[in-house]
């Protein structure tokens, strides 16, 4: 296994210059998630208009995988519907649990396809999923208000 399959160029770029980093003041839902085994954390805020995701922003401390994942997620969901988010989420979760055996659909996943290599490192799957799970909860939380 080559480390570069995990740390793809795209991931390291997102890590260095994360998109959507810094929490927006105006939001419909928020969630805070933490990886209890290492202490990494992320806060995600979503601003919705009905089922339309206007913006997702995030803040946190974490490894390159979890920070880059949040950045990619920002770009991927901007001005998409919450339904689309859930399709992406299902796709991404499947990819993460594929142990390197699934070829990601770049059409659907865009930059998130670069995380395919993570699935070969089970200990890192949680890192990649952290912002996704937080965003899921943030959207749910928004619905409840």
């Amino acid at each position: 296994m080559n480390l570069d399959s995990l740390y793809q160029e795209i991931i390291l770029d997102h890590y260095k210059k994360p998109l959507g980093s810094g929490l927006q003041d105006n939001f419909s839902g928020e969630a805070f998630h933490v990886n209890t085994s290492c202490g990494d954390e992320v806060t995600v805020r979503v601003l919705l208009d009905g089922n339309q995701i206007l913006n997702m922003t995030h803040e946190g401390v974490g490894c390159s995988i979890s920070r880059a994942s949040a950045s990619v997620l920002h770009a991927l969901t901007k001005e998409e519907t919450t339904e689309t988010f859930h399709v992406l989420l299902d796709n991404f979760v499947d990819l993460m649990h594929s142990q390197g055996k699934v070829v990601p659909d770049e059409e659907v996943l865009g930059d998130a396809a670069a995380f395919a290599g993570v699935s070969k490192y089970p200990a890192r799957v949680k890192c990649a999923l952290l912002p996704w799970m937080a965003m899921k909860d943030a959207i749910e939380g928004a619905g409840n208000e």
Binding site: S37, Y121, A123, R124
Partner: protein, 423 residues
């Protein structure tokens, strides 16, 4: 036909070729205390140490990944074996710890509720509540509840054992004040099997949780805790061909979510500050510190071995041996059997007294013929008192025993009263 099973499997169990006191072939009839281990189980533990060993869930390096994967795969395998989801299975060091976990978690709920934590009001118990257990429990399923009752003021009540040695499930013992019903699935003295479905029905009516001591059932027949509908079940690995040092606890979703933690430390936390801590909400909440990883992996190999032979085959085989033993013993003078003397709702062990000979002397004589049985109160002292026995001897059977083992046992048993000159 299945009588040959023991012969077929014997080579898988290296210890069975041991010569007792250097001379007699070992006839191991003490599996109810602990079972012997097949080669594949011993190898699974060794292999873990030589190829995979690391801490789980906390290391990113490759060995850590491999160890975590092995541990969780074992959990999945063991959980499926008893009809539950892996997320509802918690590993302990033995069944005793599992029962203590539930009792102490309820105690913690009670203390935390008192200190103002409303989340635990529902589980808290006090002077107006009762805990129902049975007269045939092992100390492990008596003493933790006595303690919980003592320090919370709750009442401890007993379901009775009837003349035949079977449980009398008296519905009048179940009332709105009943919070916990703790029962054994199979008595380790009488061999009698509890009608768990009936217990669960009565308990559900009054909203009590049912805690099952499954030590003697899981090794011997197909058990499905979800189907049985119990709230919790504890059993040991070492009685089902697994290593020492590992036990299992099933908690249903409700208890898993609602019980506060018991052992406190690493892995089970969500967050720790100098002031206070919060805890995981999944089964990790109950697994503090470095776990018995190699033993869990070994237990999974034991489950594979049992599945391979087939639980129905094992069950049938042990029943036939038990039937043969009972038949032989019933026809012998001076033998008193504790528990049912027929095979209805009773399984593979026979406790007995030999008139005029103390159980220690009985087991010592049998040992001189290579036959290993257990003598004592089998950690069920109150039951022995009720039965009017200081102690008893117990012969218990498992998949690796043969019809010949039973014959050797019966032949030796038949000589005892002569030897001690009481015949």
């Amino acid at each position: 036909m299945t009588l040959d099973l023991g012969q077929e499997l014997k080579d898988d169990f290296p210890i069975l070729s041991h010569k007792v006191r250097g001379v007699s072939d070992l006839v191991y009839l003490d599996s109810a205390a602990t079972s012997q281990k097949p080669k594949v189980v011993i190898a699974a533990e060794s292999n873990f140490y030589t190829s995979t060993n690391a801490t789980v869930h906390r290391s990113g390096h490759e060995l850590g990944e491999l160890a975590s994967a092995a541990y969780e795969a074992a959990r999945e395998n063991i959980a499926r074996f008893v009809g539950i989801e892996p997320g509802n299975l918690i590993f302990t060091k033995n069944a005793t710890e599992g029962i203590n976990l539930v009792a102490y978690a309820v105690l913690n709920a009670t203390l935390l509720a008192k200190s103002g934590d409303k989340r635990y009001n529902k589980l808290a118990i006090g002077a107006e509540d009762s805990i129902v257990i049975t007269e045939m429990e092992h100390h492990a399923n008596i003493v933790p509840w006595q303690h919980l009752a003592q320090v919370t003021g709750a009442r401890l009540e007993y379901l009775k054992v009837d003349e035949s040695g079977r449980l009398d499930i008296d519905e009048s013992k179940f009332s709105k004040s009943t919070k916990i019903v703790a029962i054994t699935h199979q008595s380790n003295v009488l061999g009698s099997v509890t009608d768990v479905a009936k217990i669960v029905r009565f308990a559900n009516k009054v909203g009590a949780m049912v805690v099952l001591d499954a030590c003697q059932s899981v090794p011997h027949f197909n058990v499905d805790f979800k189907l049985l509908g119990v709230s919790a079940a504890a059993w040991s690995g070492h009685k089902m061909l697994g290593p020492t040092g590992v036990g299992c606890l099933y908690l249903n979703d409700e208890l898993l979510g609602e019980l506060p933690p018991f052992l406190l430390g690493g892995n089970m936390i969500e967050n720790v500050t100098y002031e206070s801590s919060t805890f995981r909400s999944d089964n990790a909440k109950f697994e503090a510190g470095t776990m018995n990883i190699a033993q869990v992996v070994g237990l999974s190999a034991a489950v594979d071995y049992l599945k391979n032979v087939g639980m129905n085959v094992i069950h049938e085989h042990v029943r036939e041996l038990t039937g043969a033993a009972l038949k032989g013993m019933l026809s012998m003078p001076g033998i008193r059997i504790l528990g049912p003397t027929d095979l209805t709702d009773r399984e593979g062990l026979v406790s007995f007294e030999v008139d005029g000979v103390h159980p220690h002397d009985v087991s010592q004589f049998l040992d001189s013929k290579g036959v290993a049985v257990r003598a004592g109160h089998h950690c069920a002292w109150p039951l022995h008192r009720k039965l009017g026995a200081v102690a008893s001897s117990r012969a218990s059977f498992y998949l690796y025993n043969t019809k010949e083992d039973v014959d050797v046992f019966l032949a030796a048993l038949d000589q005892i009263r002569d030897y001690f000159k009481v015949a």
